[in-house]
Symmetry: C2
Subunit: 677 residues, 2 copies
C-alpha cells in the first residue's frame, strides 16, 4: 500500500536492472478482435463441423429477415447447401431484401463489429455486427476460399454488384477482389452471399432443415426455400401476407440503468438542461416524473446534462428507484403471440396428438438495463407425446429458434428450478428438467437479448429475466394443472356414475328373473339417484385435418332442463356446420360460441356438434366446455361459466340443492405462486 | 444469380433514387470492442451482482498467479472485500509478482484485448487480455469510480507507481489520472489493484470464499489471504514450497490444423523453405516426417513458405492426416496430478467420509487446432456423501475452478452422455447428470482452453475434447464399478460364511444337549468346510487425522498357511508403526508395501496393522488389499496380486483345488468401453 509519495522526477532512475517485468513487457501487445475470434471460434458457435455449417446459415438468414422487415418487404429467402468435397460445403443464401449500397458491402461482410443495429433499441435478430462477417472469416480459415457477395438496391438505374471478400485477421479489414457490376436478371433488389466452409451436414434435431422449419413457423410472413445437398427442394410457404408490426425504435427505459449508462447518455445528450434530458432522452419519463426525480435527487433542473457529476448521477438513480414509472412501451417488441406459439408446438409434435394445449402466456414487458423484454410460454401435454423421457424444450429469442447450448440457457434454468411435481410432471427432488409427456416452448423478445456468447445460442441468467420466464412458465403450468385436475375429477365421477348405470339395471334384471316378474324401467330411478345433467364430448377425426366434436347432453334428472353450453373455438378453424346446428346461438370475434338446449325432457339426451378444420383444429380441447343455466352441482362434464368469460350465460333458473362451492384449489395455488408479482 | 456482367464505369449511375438501402447505409458503423462488451457484459460474466463481484476477483487472482509463476516467484496473493455502500464493494487484490513496468500499466488495466499471453502456446490462466480490463470497466460503469492500480518491479532503484484508470469505452483506451511514483514500504515487487464495483456478497457454493479455497487446493504453492466484508481474515496456507513445473512455450502441433492456420503460419514464417518451415515451426515434425509430408503432398521442399498456395496447403494438410505424428509434448501443460485431485475431492467433502476414492485418471495429451490439452478426472463415492441428489460436479480449467455455467460445459455434457447405470450410479434413461452419493472432478489443462465465452466459465463442446473427457470419466468409473463389484462379492461371501460359522456350532450345541454329550470342537470341521484364508479389514479413527488399519487374517483351512499381503499406501501418510510390525517386509517409492504371514496354524488368526496420518490418510481404501502365495479360490477378502503390480509376490506353494479363474467382467467391460482408443 502507498506509504510515501515521491515526485515523478526523483523516481525515474537513470539505469535499471533488467527485471523480469521488462521481459514480460516486451510481450505485451494489442490483440485484434479478428485474431481473438479466429482463435476463439467456439465463442462464435463454430466449435464443431455440424454446428459451423448451421451457424453461418443462421446468421445469413437472420440478416435477410431483419433487412426485409426493416424495408417492409415480405421476405423471400432461399438457402442452398451443396457438397463440394468430403467436408467442404458451398452455401448460398439469397434474399429479396432492400440490398446493401455498394460501398458498404465490404465492411458489412468483411469486418467484425460493424453493423447498423447495435445502437438501436428495437427488437431485431442481428445486433452485434459480428455474425455474418464471422461466417465469412470461418469460411476463409477452413477452406481458404473467399466469400462471394452480390447485392442490388432498389431503383431503376441501379445495377447489382458482386465481389469476393476475404477478411484480414490481423487488421479486421476486408480484402476485396473481383468487384464488378452486372445485370442481375429478374431481380429488383436483394442480397446474396455464397461461401465455402468446412462442415458436416446432419439431419435431426439440430439440422439446417429443422432450423429453417422452426424459423418459418414463427415467421409466417416469410417464404423460405431450401435446397439440401441431395438436391431436394423444400419450400416453407408463406402463411400470411401481413407483415408483423414493425418494432419501433425507442429511447432507453430508466429501469435498471447503471451509473455509467446515465453518465454516458448525459455526456452525449443534445438537450440543454437536466430536466429536458430526463424528459426527452428516456422513454416513460413525463414532465411530472422528471419533476419528481429532480426534487428527490436535489439536482438543479437547469444544469447542463454534460455537467452531471458522479454524485448527481447516484442521486438521480436513487430517485428513479423510488418513483413509479410506467413499464416500457411494447411497440419496440414483436412477440410471437398465442396462435404462433400453438402452431410452433404443433409442428414439433409432427403428427403426434397431444391431450392438451395449455393456453399460451404472454407476459407484460419489463426492462433490464433500459432494454424492454417480454417473455412468452406455451405447453402441450399428454396424448401420444412420449412420456418416458425428459420434456422437450423449445427455445426462441427474437423469433429465432435456439438449437444449441440448451444447458447454458436461462430458459432451461428457469424450467429446472421450478417444482413441476406441483403441476403434474415427474421431477426427481423437485429440480432439474422434468420428465413426462410434455413440450415446453419459451420465447424471449427484447431490444437486446442478453446472449451468453457471440454465437447467440443461449440467453444469459439475468435475475430479472429469469424471474419473468419463471412466472410465464408457472402461469402456463397452472393451466396445465387445472386441466389435469379437471380430468381427474371427471374420470372419478365418470367411474362412479358408470357403476350406478350398470349395477342398478343389473340388480333389477336379476331380481326380476328371480321373482319371475318383468324387468322394471329404472330410467327415472337412476335419474333420481344421479340428479345431474351429464355432458360428454366425443371427437372424431376424418383425414388429417377435419375434426368433428360432439357433445352428448343427458338429462339424468326428473324435470325438463334448459342449459347453455359455451366454448372458445379456434375461430379460423370453425366449419360452417357450426352455424347450421339447431342449438347454436352465436359466436363472437374471439371465437367464443354459445349453444342453448331448451327443455330437454328427463331421461333423454341430445347432441351439439360442429366441425373444426385446418392447422389449429387440434388446439381445441374438447374438455374446455362451460355451461350456464344450472347450478354447479347439477352438471357433470362441464365447468361453470366463469364470470370474466365476457359473454352472458343463461341465468340459473332452478337450484335443486344449495350451491356448495368447493374451495378452488387453483386459486389458492395462484396466490402462493405468484405472490411475487 | 449473376447473369450478365457490365463494366464498372457503365454501372455507376449519375443520380440515384433515395432507396431504403441508403437510409440503412447511414446507420452502418464500426462498433468498438469496449462498447460491445459494455453492452454485452453478461458475455464477460458480469450478469448478476453476485457473479460480478466474483468475476473481478477471479480475473485479478488469475493474473497474479500467472505472473508469479512466469517469474518463478512463490505466489502470495491477498484479496480484500469491503462493503462501502448498499451494493458497492471496494475490492483490492495485491500480489508479490514481478510487477508491471510503468508505461505498460495503463494498457494492461485499461484496454480490452491487450495482453502478453494471447499468442503464447503455453498453459496459463489468463489468455485473452480481456479479464482485468473488463473488471476495471465494469467498476467504472456501475459505480463511476476509477480503478487504482499500483505496481513495482524488482530492482533497487525502482519505485512503485500508482495511478487511477478509467476506460474510454468509445475508443477502448485508458484514461489515466493521478499517476504518481512513491515508496511502497516493505514491498520489493508486486502489483495491487483496487476498484469499486456494484456487487452482492454471497456465501455458499458460488462465493468468493469457495473460489479462493478451491484455487488454493489446486495451487498448493500459493498462499492466499482473504479479508471478507465482515473483517474476518482467512489464510489459505501454502502447502508446498515447490513451484509446479513451469509450462514451456511450444510450437503449434500439426494435429487438427485448419487451412487458414497453415497459410497464416506460412506467411509469417522466417524459414527459407517449406521443408524448414515444417521442420522448425511445428512441434513433433521431424526430418523424416517432413520428408513424408512433402512426398505425399507433392509440394516442392525448397518452395518459399510464403509462396504456399491454397492447393499446396490442402495437400499438406491431407498428408499430415495420413502421417503418424507423435502426440504433442506435455511440458507445455501442468496437470493437477493424482494427489491434488484427491485433495480437491476431499476438500469438498468437508468432513464427510466417503467409502471409496476411485484412482484419479490423467489422460495422455491430445491436440485440437494445434493446441495440446490433457484431461484428468477423479471420483469419490459412498460413505456419508448425500445419496438423494444429483452427483456433485467439480470443474477446473488450467487450475482455475469453474463455478458458473455448469450446464453449458463440455465436462457436464460428457458426464450427462455417459450411461452411469453401468457403473453403479442411478440415472434415468441412461442420460443426464446421474444421482447418487458421488462427487466427480474433471480438470482440463490446455495451452488454449476453448471457453464458451469471454467470462471463462464453461468449456466448449469440441468433439475431440469431449471424447477425451468421456474416456477419462469411463476409466475412472470403471475403477468405481470394480470397487462396487468387489464389495458386492465380498458382502455375499461374508454372509454365506457367517452362516456356516454360526449355524454349525449352534447345531452341534443343540445335538450335544439333546444327547447329553459334551459340545464338540468344530474348528477343524468348519475349516474343512470353508477351506479358505479369510482376510478382514477394520479401520479405526482417532481424532481427525489418524487412522489405524488392521487386517485380521484367519486360517480356516486344515494346514498351516503362508501368505503375503500387498497394498499401495499414500506414502506421505504412513506412520512409523508400519515399519515396526513384525510381518512387515518393505515399501517402495510408490508406497507399495508388502507383509508376510508365515506358517499361520490352522484355525488360528493373526493381524497386520499400521497407522496413516495427515490429509491423504482418508484416500486409502482398506478394501484395496492384495495377496500372493495362495491360489485365488483359497483366499477371501483380498484380490490376487496383479501381474503388473510391479513388486514380486510370493509364489503359490500349494494348490488345493484347480485354479478356476472366473471370467473377469471388468476386462470385458474395458474392451467394450475403450474400443475407440
Amino acid at each position: 500500500m502507498p506509504s510515501e509519495e515521491v515526485t515523478n522526477e526523483k523516481a525515474a532512475p537513470k539505469e535499471r536492472k533488467t527485471a523480469i517485468a521488462h521481459k514480460l513487457a516486451t510481450k505485451q501487445q494489442e490483440i485484434s478482435v479478428t485474431e481473438f475470434f479466429e482463435k476463439n471460434k467456439q465463442i462464435l458457435g463454430f466449435d464443431s463441423r455440424s454446428k459451423s455449417l448451421l451457424m453461418g446459415i443462421k446468421e445469413a438468414v437472420d440478416n435477410s429477415l431483419d433487412a426485409c422487415e426493416e424495408a417492409g418487404i415480405l421476405p423471400d429467402v432461399s438457402v442452398r447447401v451443396e457438397k463440394v468435397a468430403d467436408e467442404d460445403y458451398r452455401i448460398c443464401i439469397e434474399d429479396n431484401g432492400p440490398g446493401i449500397v455498394h460501398k458498404m458491402m465490404p465492411n458489412v461482410f468483411g469486418r467484425l463489429l460493424y453493423g447498423s443495429r447495435f445502437h438501436a433499441l428495437r427488437q431485431s435478430r442481428g445486433q452485434q455486427g459480428i455474425g455474418i462477417s464471422a461466417t465469412v472469416m470461418y469460411g476463409n480459415i477452413t477452406t481458404g476460399k473467399p466469400a462471394h457477395v452480390i447485392s442490388k438496391i432498389e431503383g431503376e438505374d441501379e445495377v447489382a454488384w458482386g465481389m469476393d471478400i476475404v477478411i484480414d485477421t490481423k487488421t479486421n479489414r476486408p480484402i476485396v477482389t473481383n468487384d464488378k457490376a452486372f445485370n442481375w436478371e429478374g431481380k429488383e433488389h436483394g442480397t446474396s452471399i455464397e461461401y465455402t466452409i468446412k462442415g458436416r451436414y446432419v439431419n435431426g434435431k439440430q439440422s439446417v432443415f429443422e432450423y429453417l422449419k422452426d424459423t418459418a413457423i414463427v415467421n409466417p410472413h416469410a417464404q423460405i426455400t431450401f435446397h439440401d445437398p441431395d438436391g431436394t427442394k423444400t419450400v416453407f410457404e408463406r402463411a400470411t401476407d401481413t407483415m408483423p408490426p414493425k418494432p419501433k425504435e425507442i429511447k432507453p427505459h430508466p429501469e435498471g440503468m447503471e451509473i455509467g449508462d446515465l453518465l454516458k447518455y448525459a455526456g452525449n445528450s443534445q438537450q440543454k438542461t437536466v430536466r429536458a434530458f430526463l424528459r426527452n432522452d428516456f422513454s416513460r419519463i413525463t414532465d411530472r416524473i422528471a419533476t419528481e426525480i429532480l426534487e428527490k435527487s436535489k439536482v438543479k433542473e437547469d444544469k447542463k446534462p454534460e455537467k452531471i457529476t458522479r454524485d448527481d448521477a447516484i442521486a438521480i438513480l436513487e430517485a428513479i428507484k423510488t418513483v413509479k414509472i410506467m413499464a416500457p412501451p411494447t411497440d419496440c417488441l414483436s412477440p410471437i403471440g398465442d396462435t404462433l406459439i400453438k402452431k410452433g408446438l404443433m409442428h414439433v409434435l409432427d403428427g403426434l396428438r397431444p391431450e392438451y394445449y395449455a393456453t399460451p402466456v404472454t407476459r407484460s414487458p419489463k426492462a433490464v438495463n433500459g432494454n424492454p423484454f417480454v417473455v412468452e410460454a406455451g405447453i402441450v401435454y399428454g396424448g401420444d407425446i412420449p412420456s418416458d423421457g425428459q420434456v422437450q424444450i423449445l427455445r426462441f429469442a427474437n423469433r429465432v429458434p435456439l438449437l444449441y447450448q440448451q444447458g447454458a440457457c436461462a430458459i432451461t434454468k428457469a424450467i429446472s428450478e421450478m417444482d413441476w411435481r406441483r403441476y403434474g410432471l415427474e421431477q426427481r427432488g423437485g429440480k432439474g428438467i422434468p420428465f413426462g409427456p410434455a413440450i415446453i416452448l419459451v420465447h424471449v423478445a427484447s431490444t437486446k437479448v442478453p446472449f451468453t456468447s457471440e454465437g447467440k445460442e443461449a440467453v444469459a441468467n439475468f435475475p430479472e429475466l429469469q424471474s419473468e420466464i419463471g412466472l410465464a412458465l408457472r402461469l402456463c403450468a397452472r393451466n396445465l394443472k387445472s386441466h389435469l385436475n379437471k380430468m381427474e375429477r371427471k374420470n372419478k365421477t365418470h367411474a362412479k356414475f358408470e357403476i350406478v348405470q350398470e349395477i342398478l339395471p343389473d340388480m333389477a334384471r336379476k331380481c326380476a328373473e328371480h321373482l319371475d316378474r318383468p324387468v322394471p324401467n329404472l330410467d327415472r330411478t337412476i335419474s333420481r339417484i344421479m340428479n345431474v345433467v351429464w355432458i360428454e364430448p366425443t371427437v372424431k377425426r376424418e383425414g388429417k385435418k377435419l375434426r368433428t366434436v360432439t357433445y352428448t347432453v343427458y338429462n339424468y334428472t326428473t324435470l325438463p332442463r334448459t342449459i347453455r353450453l359455451h366454448a372458445r373455438l379456434p375461430k379460423e378453424s370453425v366449419n360452417l356446420t357450426l352455424f347450421s346446428h339447431q342449438c347454436f346461438l352465436d359466436m363472437n370475434d374471439e371465437g367464443k360460441a354459445n349453444w342453448e338446449i331448451a327443455d330437454l325432457p328427463p331421461s333423454t339426451s341430445t347432441t351439439v356438434s360442429f366441425e373444426l378444420t385446418g392447422d389449429m383444429a387440434d388446439t381445441f380441447d374438447a374438455d374446455d366446455i362451460y355451461f350456464s343455466g344450472l347450478s354447479t352441482t347439477m352438471v357433470m362434464g362441464a365447468e361453470t361459466l366463469p364470470g370474466d368469460w365476457g359473454i352472458k350465460g343463461l341465468e340459473i333458473v332452478q337450484t335443486d340443492e344449495s350451491d356448495l362451492v368447493e374451495e378452488d384449489e387453483e386459486e389458492t395455488m395462484e396466490a402462493e405462486d405468484l405472490g411475487d408479482e
